[in-house]
Symmetry: C4
């Protein structure tokens, strides 16, 4: 009997040799190489999108009042189907606990729980939107090679710039804290800056250039300080952009070839280069 893993990536490489029902189920549910596996994934994709749509529609008061029963019934049908699928997954994997505690296992569970929870905690069915996260699974299983490669590139660029981004977030949080406290002192409660936390919220709204306009400076000094904060927000955005661009550029270059010429040592060759572009030596 072959060793089976919940990790799809590994499973995709070493095809299951056994032919028990569990193996066949696993192939259909967890993979997308066989025709039935593909059909299952497409059906799941459609089901997830429909169930997210149903949850969204149910939250609209007019629809809930006119079609409440129908929408509730639909929700139970979807939850039933997803519960069956969750059960099937638990049965068909070799190590159910490992699956249940994996990221996807938890998402699968969270996607069905709120429907049951609603009896104890009213309104919690809105959390069913977590079902949208399940789309990630289908995305991954479908082995969209191109997309996965690009996503890994983006991810690598993010990871490479994590230190710079942490510093950037630290600077942003400090600015927001200082300006929030400053504006609380300058504007005061009568102008809507009712407390430092509220002022900090205002500073985030302003620095990020969102600018709701629910809280707004009224004093001359407050407007001067706001103008400085806005221009800072307008300029500071250049920093994460610069960081991501430089790292993405480096990640893209790293994904390319890096042979160096045995004759002149130049190393700035393209992927498909067979001769040094500077001296013509064969690489």
């Amino acid at each position: 009997m072959t060793a089976k893993h919940t990790s799809t990536q590994v499973a995709a490489e070493e095809k299951p040799l056994g032919s028990g029902w569990r193996e066949r189920w696993h192939e259909v549910i967890f993979e997308a190489d066989t025709p039935w596996g593909k059909r299952f994934d497409v059906a799941l994709l459609v089901l997830i999108l429909l169930s997210v749509l149903a949850v969204c529609l149910e939250s609209v008061r007019e629809l809930r009042e006119t079609h409440g029963l129908t929408l509730r019934a639909i929700e139970w049908v979807f939850t039933g189907l997803f519960t069956l699928e969750y059960g099937a997954r638990l049965i068909s994997v070799r190590r159910p606990l490992r699956y249940a505690l994996s990221f996807y296992g938890l998402v699968d569970l969270l996607a069905i729980l709120p429907t049951f929870l609603v009896y104890f905690l009213p309104g919690s069915q809105a959390l069913l939107v977590i079902r949208a996260l399940r789309l990630l699974r289908v995305f991954r299983i479908m082995k969209l090679a191109h997309f996965v490669g690009e996503a890994q590139l983006l991810g690598a660029a993010m990871r490479a710039s994590i230190h710079k981004i942490v510093i950037f977030i630290g600077v942003v949080l400090s600015i927001v804290l200082i300006f929030g406290a400053l504006m609380y002192v300058i504007e005061g409660e009568e102008n809507g800056f009712t407390s430092i936390p509220v002022s900090i919220y205002w500073a985030v709204v302003t620095l990020s250039t969102v600018g709701f306009g629910d809280i707004v400076p009224h004093t001359v000094l407050g407007r001067v300080v706001s103008a400085i904060l806005m221009l800072m927000g307008y300029a500071i955005i250049a920093v994460p952009t610069g960081i991501v661009t430089v790292e993405l550029s480096a990640a893209t270059r790293a994904a390319n070839n890096t042979q160096s010429c045995p004759s002149c040592g130049a190393s700035d060759h393209d992927n498909d280069a067979r001769h040094c572009k500077h001296c013509g030596t064969k690489l």
Copy 2:
């Protein structure tokens, strides 16, 4: 008789040899190489701009009430002229159906239809603004070599980054969905988050840093979650920027070098290449 194509690019290369009225019309209407062809294009450009302006003005209530008849008359004149032009195009091309179903053919039709449709569907004349799309045609015909090259460069950069952009849009939609549902649960109907779709609309307004301020969080937790969403929106914008910059940089580099190898004919060399990277021949 020469083979005629609706495609201007091809037609521009193989000049029509025939001299029937249809050939001459085609030359004037579809091309811009002859003096009359140029005059026709400039006249069309002015007409289109004027007609778009007329549609815009007619939508202003005060103008419609005082100069309604004049503006309506002007609209009919423009529509008449464009209908004549559409007819002339249909007649002068070799394959009218192929033109009628092409992108430009459909835009030409859509640019005149609403005036007639208004008898059945009041208000539809606002759609006459589609006429603005016709400007694209003049733009293309005028063979603004520089602009076309630059536009192709931008287009190439866009196409090269399409996979990354799809991932980015997927991430943005997921964030907006999750935060929308979350805010619906946190803030509730009494604070303006009347349904999940409305909350998702709010999340788009906030993440994109537009921040209308028509819907605004009032609870403490809602403001904390909003602040996180804003800072995400502020930082995430770095990603498409980085993608486009890197791809544009690559596209620019690729466009800059056009030497081809005298030995093997390869033409994808870098700017500073002195030897063919495929066969080593000196360039």
Copy 3:
């Protein structure tokens, strides 16, 4: 007698040899090489800043009501001084007409005219803020070598990307036109989209992610279309950023050295390189 030019750059190279009062005035007023020329420029800089401040303060109702006479007197003093300076410039240059019609000559004139114009056109003294433009002159004369070089770099990058920027603006205007008309049809006058021009204004406010919130969609379809427009605005900003970054990078590189190695042909050397970094050959 030497040929004199209003162009400071040229004048700076060929020092005036004559010693008449006109030459000395010219040296003091138009140049900044002599101690008196520097003092004149600094005094002018301070005067301009003070006069701009005075104009700003005069526009504040409370200050105008309490200190109206003082501020008006100050304005006349500044205008008097600037008129004297304008006269002095006219007299001290060789070709007064050429100066009067140059960019700086016109700005100098526009900076004093509104004070006189106010007798015919009330409120026009606010245009005195044009005086701020005069700061450019001081900036240029002070020959801030570094800044001029950097500004030229930025300017070169802008000029190199002008074609792409024109295309970008064309795309933005088309989007704004189409979405403006669409929202006028969808939302209608009762929701604040009173005419197509107003809707276009709204589309600009939304696409540029400013989001005042004075006009806001209320229908479901209008909000969906708005969300699309916002996400477009959020993503499209990557394009000008990418363009400027690539061109600025190219301009920076072009400002550096571009010698190529006589032995291996590599050309990616630094400014201060004396030997090829790939093969060690002397450059």
Copy 4:
């Protein structure tokens, strides 16, 4: 006895040899190499975060009214602890005055002063948020090597682009000044543009794409001018982004290579250099 410096960086290199109580205190308070020094820093970090939190909470009216005494007591405890720490720092350094006048010394003082000042200046305790700045010290002392390197990289990129950024700020301020005055003339006091300073504030809000919506154009011309300002703000943001990206790219490249030439000692080589660019020696 060894020479002691308040500068932690220097102090870290030349370990204090003496073993008096002052040396031991200095080691614990100013450094983080010993177990006790680390514990002190972590405790300080927690204390600072808690005290900032306390100040924020005290500003909330409801909490102040219900738990006012407790919060006030907590504030005094924190201030007492920080005063003790300030005293300990003053005693344990060799040159107390130099420390007291250093950046960190001043921040340490400012972090405790407001509590005492509140008897003379009500509301000044909000300034206690300055305590957040003290986090910088812990950050620095903890010698988070990676972060410090990355921060220096960001700092270097900023410093290299300072000239371009000054030009950019100058351009932004000019735009804001001119458009502010223009809108004051166009819209006037009846539409909320009550003075030129207020109009300039509005121009900053608009150009930075914050868009509060508290002041909004109402006239047709005012909206046209606003639309131009918005599109300028939307496009101009590309400039600082481009600047930072190019400089960050250069700084990253410079930081990546650290080989030094065995012959002439030069160390400013590129990543792909195989020969010293100054003397040609093989690296």
